[in-house]
């Protein structure tokens, strides 16, 4: 974030205070710890637990805890613990990068719409409304089905369909902030439009955008799980949703093959939501004073 020393910033509090508020909240800290734990599990875990998630290592449908397989094996005799560990990496990576993509698109569209107004705003907000009406899952399904299912195409598809909320929030913040005195001062001192948008207004609009993006990470993770459940996942990497989807028809034999990956998704998204709530409390001065 940029430092604007001469400019009085009305909404951003000193970073230290934000951190203090965030870390005072038990639920936010719990969420953060769980999230870091899951990320560590996904990125470093495979070093300590090297079983390949695609290897058929044991008899199919061994219940959790038997024969040395902590979470049991699936319908092909693959180790579920290894699938959970390796799936974490994919979920976290896709969740965060897809949210980043939607953040870029949403901030871009929302800031231009809010700053320029007139026909630019009209056109861009029409586009945003359109993406709110579109059934996003189906649209992403079409994109992935047409362009092939790789981690990249899935990430881009999720990012490309879920930016509407960010665009709306960014626009409304821009509409509010662009009328404030410090923007006028900055314009008078010769800043051009792009500088005004990205260096003067955007840093002051950051708080609600960050909170919304945190929610988008969770939504992107369930989104990816949904696509994978429907069979639209990268065949080269394991994904929690795909584990559920492929074991779904065997729930009579082994319910745990479906419940365990679901719990993994649930805990991850729950942790992100707790962090999001914490961020909201910490970044939003109006809420905090209540």
């Amino acid at each position: 974030m940029l430092e604007n020393e001469e400019i009085e910033e009305p909404t951003i509090k000193p970073v230290k205070e934000i951190f203090l508020t965030f870390f005072k909240s038990y639920s936010a800290v719990t969420g953060l710890i769980i999230l870091i734990g899951i990320a560590v599990m996904g990125f470093i875990g495979p070093l300590f637990y090297p079983t390949d998630p695609f290897d058929m290592v044991w008899m199919p449908f061994s219940p959790p805890g038997t024969d040395g397989f902590l979470l049991g094996t699936d319908y092909l005799g693959r180790d579920i613990l290894s699938q959970i560990i390796n799936g974490a990496r994919v979920s976290i990576a896709i969740g965060f990068s897809a949210a980043l993509v939607s953040c870029f698109i949403g901030v871009g569209i929302g800031s231009f719409a809010g700053f320029y107004g007139g026909w630019v705003e009209e056109t861009l907000m029409r586009l945003t409304e359109f993406f709110q009406v579109l059934p996003t899952l189906l649209f992403a399904m079409v994109i992935v089905a047409l362009f092939g299912s790789s981690v990249l195409s899935i990430t881009l598809a999720i990012g490309a369909v879920s930016w509407a909320s960010v665009a709306r929030i960014t626009r409304s913040e821009f509409l509010r902030i662009k009328e404030l005195d410090f923007v006028l001062a900055s314009r008078a001192s010769g800043s051009n439009n792009l500088a005004l948008i990205f260096r003067v207004i955007l840093p002051n609009a950051a708080a609600p955008i960050i909170v919304q993006s945190a929610l988008l990470v969770g939504a992107a993770i369930t989104f990816e799980a949904g696509l994978a459940f429907l069979g639209l996942s990268d065949p080269n990497v394991i994904s929690w949703g795909q584990v559920i989807g492929s074991n779904r028809i065997y729930i009579l034999d082994a319910t745990y093959t479906v419940t365990i990956p679901g719990i993994a998704i649930f805990i991850t998204v729950l942790a992100i939501s707790l962090v999001g709530d914490g961020l909201n409390d910490a970044l939003n001065p109006k809420l905090r004073s209540r």
Binding site: F130, Q132, V133, L134, P135, T136, L137, L138, F139, M141, V142, I143, A145, L146, F147, G148, L215, G218, A219, T222, A225, G226, F229, L230, G231, L232, G241, I244, R248, I251, L252, T255, V258, T259, G262, I265, F266, I267, V269, L270, S273
Partner: protein, 311 residues
């Protein structure tokens, strides 16, 4: 509304155009390969040799005339396939939306009576659950619980094929029994959001002057609550429900797949497996239509609630 549909159709065409491979490739693949000359002929037959904008124009006109092309897999017109399954999805989406609104508003009104009580906690917990639990997973859990372990509800489908004769009510209850679990699953994501909104907006309205006036002139508590407070606090809930329509349709796709509900979602799932792109594109157009109709209904409801609103 028509504009939205037009944009979807154009977007469809753009994606088809940009995607690697075309119809000729797909047909050639299913025929087991074709030489250059046959390919050129196929492309000519499907108008793929014409300039971009003419192709686009042709595509839009075809869709406007309800010609969505032919399904490679079922070898039937896409439109017929979709129409056959559209009512089931419509039933699921609207019943789930109405159920979640009803339960959500009821809970919200109740929670607003004691803002820090158990019901408020319940509402907050459930909205967290609705956000974090993937809907297809909730569906599978309910399926395991209420179809396999405690077999109250059927596992899949929409009708019991063993029931052949019988009057309207027999069929009605049969469909209702099949609908119950999918509907609950789909509603479970949304009702907590609605009740949270309804609670907040009720709390705001309950502090307003006109509610005090209503109380002061001696109306019964029920009367004040339902006729004065609730009616004025519904708009944000209904507005949000309208915005959620596209999410409900997306959720329906997943829920249908879990319960093999014979609607557009199952069709979409099958067409992914069989790489049946025309069907998938047709479903996208139809579900967008469904969402826009849902939004229109929302606007009409809002207007009925508040005559000041102009459409």
């Amino acid at each position: 509304m028509l504009l939205v549909l037009l944009v979807v159709v154009i977007l469809n065409f753009l994606m088809l155009h940009l995607a690697p491979g075309d119809i000729a490739d797909t047909i050639a693949q299913t025929m087991g390969g074709a030489d250059e000359q046959d390919m050129a002929e196929l492309r000519k037959q499907y108008g793929l040799d014409q300039p971009f904008f003419i192709q686009l124009f042709n595509y839009v006109v075809r869709v406007a005339l309800l010609d969505f092309g032919q399904s490679h897999f079922y070898n039937l017109p896409v439109f017929d396939l979709i129409m056959e399954r559209f009512p089931a999805t419509l039933l699921l989406v609207f019943s789930a939306q109405i159920l979640s609104l009803f339960v959500g508003i009821l809970l919200g009104v109740y929670a607003a009576q004691n803002p820090n009580g158990l019901s408020s906690l319940f509402v907050n917990m459930f909205s967290l659950f609705g956000y974090a639990a993937p809907v297809f997973w909730t569906g599978i859990l309910l399926l395991i619980a209420f179809s396999l372990h405690i077999p109250i509800f059927p596992v899949s489908g929409m009708r019991d094929i063993t029931i052949e004769s019988g009057n309207f009510f027999v069929h009605f209850f049969d469909v209702l029994k099949h609908l119950f679990l999918p509907m609950i699953t789909l509603a479970s994501i949304f009702f907590a959001y609605y009740s949270r909104l309804c609670r907040a907006s009720m709390l705001e309205v309950l502090g307003a002057d006109f509610v005090r006036t209503a109380k002061a002139k001696g109306l019964s508590k029920k009367n004040v609550l339902l006729k004065h407070a609730l009616k004025n606090s519904l708009s944000p809930v209904i507005t949000f429900a309208g915005l959620s329509f596209s999410a409900v349709v997306s959720g329906a796709i997943l829920v249908e797949t879990v319960y093999s509900w014979p609607g557009l979602g199952t069709l979409a799932f099958n067409s992914i497996i069989s790489r049946d792109t025309p069907v998938l594109l047709g479903i996208l157009i139809f579900s967008t239509l469904m969402v826009t109709v849902g939004n229109l209904l929302t606007d009409l409801t809002l207007k009925a609630l508040d005559p000041r609103i102009k459409i």
